[in-house]
């Protein structure tokens, strides 16, 4: 039992230590591996490129072993990441670190503010890529609720021979190219089931694909200030485009796809174009599939507005729960993970792209050159794929993918409302209904817009999302 005097003395020392730490600039406040910090439990997804898990698990355990910390890594399927977080928050126990592959913003209230971790990393490596910051920071509450170590580009995957046969050997460059190509592909390859394979189903890949379509037509769910602006002529244009594309190049198959379906359809040469990261390509390589020699990539497609954007395919967001007993150790681990950005990228066979480009810089690079040096190292890997691409520069476009990649929530920051809209498929359903004629584009837009506003308003009442004055 403490006396009032002891309490005040200890409190005073803590305040003094805090002031000293603040004066020294952002850094991680460590207290060494004390008795309470002897374990670290990490919840990690089962990576789409299984080789990554083989790198990550020993990395984490070795990191712990060197510090006398027992590290446990549990993997769950990507679809179980959020339900598992929900359960752990309800129980107020579980892992210390939880890795999200999308938005962690709904859990903001229960996670530590990781400004100190990001501050340390900024000081070490320079700023992180903008889309990573926009996915892990809430400017409204000013909380850094997660730290991202990696993101994944989402290029177009096209079948070289098929597109060459219709006179476009370099694949599509615009959304209009898809509409023009589809009938020709059907004519040349009548046995092909789905000439253009863009998902319109209740799954993660479709969720990204339809956002790309929306953004490139100038629409978005929210504006930069988190006002809901889905109800717009731009959204209508995107939906009318989807209807045209569906009628000439797609079938009901795309309404039922899961996250693996577009990979399977492309690898079985049942479609000529999909939107996906390189995981499907790595599967084709690993199994030496016939499609491999015709497996090529294009950047995000350009819309009629000239906008050329694609959602990141995966955005890691590591959170540290407030209920964690190993908070400082968890923060140290996150820094160590980002320190190992080169190994992480290679461990994932170039699937993961570092969120801090500077962490991939050559050793000894001066601070002001780190981001540039890191980018050069990343480009070197992509230009000469160490994992056996033929030609070796097949993945070269990925090195230049940052300008056409963006975050969920574009043109604003990610927030819980965007997360709920993503997880309940409001936008994919809007596109699917408009494309199939189940609803007119205008009615589909109205229905989705009403639901989006309802969701945004709910989160605004909780004080986690701004905006509302300019909702349409």
């Amino acid at each position: 039992m403490q006396t009032r005097r002891q309490f005040i003395m200890r409190g005073g020392k803590l305040v003094a230590a805090g002031v000293a730490a603040s004066a020294a600039g952002p850094t991680i406040f460590t207290r060494g591996a004390g008795a309470a910090d002897k374990t670290l439990k990490i919840l990690q997804w089962a990576h789409f490129v299984p080789a990554y898990d083989k790198w990550f698990d020993p990395f984490a355990k070795e990191w712990g072993a060197k510090r006398g910390i027992e590290v446990t890594v549990d993997h769950v399927g990507f679809a179980d990441v959020v339900p598992r977080a929900t359960a752990e928050v309800a129980a107020q126990s579980g892992h210390d670190i939880h890795m999200f592959i999308g938005l962690a913003s709904a859990f903001e209230e229960h996670v530590l503010d990781l400004k100190d971790v990001v501050g340390t990393l900024d000081n070490k490596y320079g700023k992180q890529v903008d889309l990573a910051l926009r996915s892990t920071y809430n400017p409204f509450t000013k909380k850094q609720f997660a730290v991202s170590d990696m993101w994944v580009p989402d290029p177009g995957n096209y079948h070289k021979k098929i597109w060459t046969d219709i006179g476009q050997p370099n694949g599509p460059a615009t959304y209009e190219d898809l509409v023009k190509a589809a009938p020709e592909i059907k004519k040349k390859y009548p046995q092909m089931q789905i000439p253009i394979g863009i998902g319109l189903s209740q799954d993660i890949d479709s969720n990204m694909a339809v956002r790309n379509m929306l953004w490139c037509h100038g629409g978005s769910i929210q504006d930069k200030d988190a006002n809901v602006v889905l109800n717009s002529p731009e959204t209508l244009a995107a939906l009318e485009y989807a209807k045209r594309l569906y009628s000439v190049g797609m079938t009901q198959a795309v309404l039922s796809w899961n996250a693996a379906s577009n990979n399977q359809a492309f690898n079985a040469q049942e479609t000529s174009y999909i939107l996906n990261s390189i995981s499907a390509y790595r599967t084709a390589q690993a199994n030496n599939l016939p499609v491999l020699e015709n497996y090529f990539f294009v950047p995000a497609l350009k819309g009629p507005t000239g906008i050329m954007l694609a959602s990141e395919h995966v955005m890691s967001g590591y959170v540290v729960w407030k209920f964690s007993k190993s908070q400082d150790t968890a923060k140290e681990f996150l820094v160590a993970l980002i320190d190992a950005s080169r190994e992480s990228m290679l461990g994932s066979q170039l699937y993961n792209f570092p969120s801090f480009y500077g962490a991939a810089a050559d050793p000894g690079t001066p601070m002001n050159k780190k981001i540039e040096s890191g980018a050069a190292w990343i480009a070197k890997q992509c230009n000469n794929d160490p994992f056996g691409s033929k030609p070796a520069d097949k993945l070269a476009l990925l090195a230049k993918s940052q300008p056409w990649s963006t975050n969920l929530g574009y043109p604003g920051f990610a927030n819980p409302a965007e997360g709920e809209i993503f997880d309940t498929y409001v936008i994919t359903d809007m596109f699917a209904k408009a494309a199939t004629g189940t609803l007119s584009p205008r009615d589909a837009m109205a229905e989705a817009s009403n639901r989006a506003k309802e969701i945004f308003n709910k989160w605004r009442k909780k004080g986690m999302v701004p905006g509302g004055s300019k909702d349409r």
Binding site: L200, A253, Q264, E270, E454
Partner: protein
């Protein structure tokens, strides 16, 4: 002639009166584990769901405030919810009709003596024993929009012409057909076993006596078999209906409610809204929407079952 007597069972209170105080204590003690289980794992979660449905609780937060019936109003105005409500009834009643009908045929077949009967019984029970996630993955391939083996077979036999294809999981109607098919496949073994037990328990003399009295097959079915099967049939139907009303596994694993939320049932929609979407209050409102109906159905069926109790 021996006939089944249909009588009202003695009230529970009277039965208790006939017990000695020691037996009564023992009875309570024996009941305690089941009661504790029901209170902890059924009653409390149910009350919690009821409570949460009146709040704005979200998955990432332990704080909430009361919003009255706002969640129910919002949910009832949603087209997706109304579709899910309709699907829940279709899913339950169509699958139960099929399960009872097919289960009856199988049970009658299994009453006969034939070679390999043991193997047939074993195969019939297989779907019941298989983990639903594993089994549904198999069905996922069978109904896959691109690689469906049904379609490839139909194509090979000429049923499907060039350009024709069934999108089992990409079409709202075919999606429901697929879901019901898998659910019937899953529940059929249980129903068959229950009905088989019921049919086996009817004494052969009853049918022989009816034959002597000149009863035809229809008269025997409706005046002997059905009344005598009623208690066990009621249990099978009650279990099947409640199980189907509250089940989301098949829907979630096959279609995830798609295409465009058209194949959701209330349980899968509640999961999507409450767990995946993080809106716990709304999810709870969806989940408990059927409770009053289920209670009425359960009471009705138990009454029917009790009235028809064979003594």
């Amino acid at each position: 002639m021996t006939t089944a007597e249909v009588a009202i069972a003695p009230p529970a209170a009277k039965a208790m009166d006939s017990l000695s105080p020691r037996d009564r204590r023992l009875g309570k003690l024996m009941l305690a584990p089941a009661l504790i289980y029901i209170i902890l794992l059924v009653a409390l979660p149910f009350l919690l769901a009821l409570f949460l449905s009146l709040t704005n609780s979200s998955a990432g937060s332990l704080d909430f405030s009361f919003v009255g019936f706002q969640n129910f109003k919002s949910v009832a105005a949603s087209a997706v919810f109304l579709r899910a409500l309709r699907n829940t009834f279709i899913f339950t009643f169509v699958s139960q009709l099929l399960v009872i009908f097919l289960g009856n045929i199988l049970a009658r077949a299994l009453l006969k003596k034939f070679r390999g009967k043991f193997l047939v019984r074993f195969l019939i029970l297989m779907p019941w024993a298989a983990p639903i996630s594993l089994a549904t993955l198999g069905w996922l391939w069978i109904f896959d929009s691109t690689f469906s083996v049904i379609n490839w077979m139909l194509k090979a036999t000429g049923w499907l012409g060039p350009g024709q294809w069934y999108y089992w999981l990409g079409d709202p109607t075919l999606g429901m057909v697929s879901i019901i098919t898998v659910h019937v496949w899953r529940l059929l073994p249980f129903s068959t076993v229950i009905l088989l037990a019921g049919l086996s328990s009817i004494p052969a003399e009853v049918h022989e006596a009816a034959d002597i009295d000149g009863a035809g097959p229809l008269a025997k079915a409706f005046q002997i078999t059905l009344p005598m099967m009623m208690p066990i049939l009621t249990v099978a139907v009650l279990f099947g209906v409640v199980f189907t009303f509250t089940d989301m596994n098949v829907v979630y694993l096959l279609t995830r409610g798609g295409p465009y939320n058209s194949t959701h049932v209330l349980a899968s929609l509640a999961y999507q809204e409450g767990v995946l979407g993080g809106d716990v209050g709304r999810g709870a409102a969806v989940a408990i929407f059927l409770v009053p109906l289920l209670v009425v159905m359960a009471v009705m069926m138990l009454r029917v079952s009790r009235r028809a109790e064979v003594t």
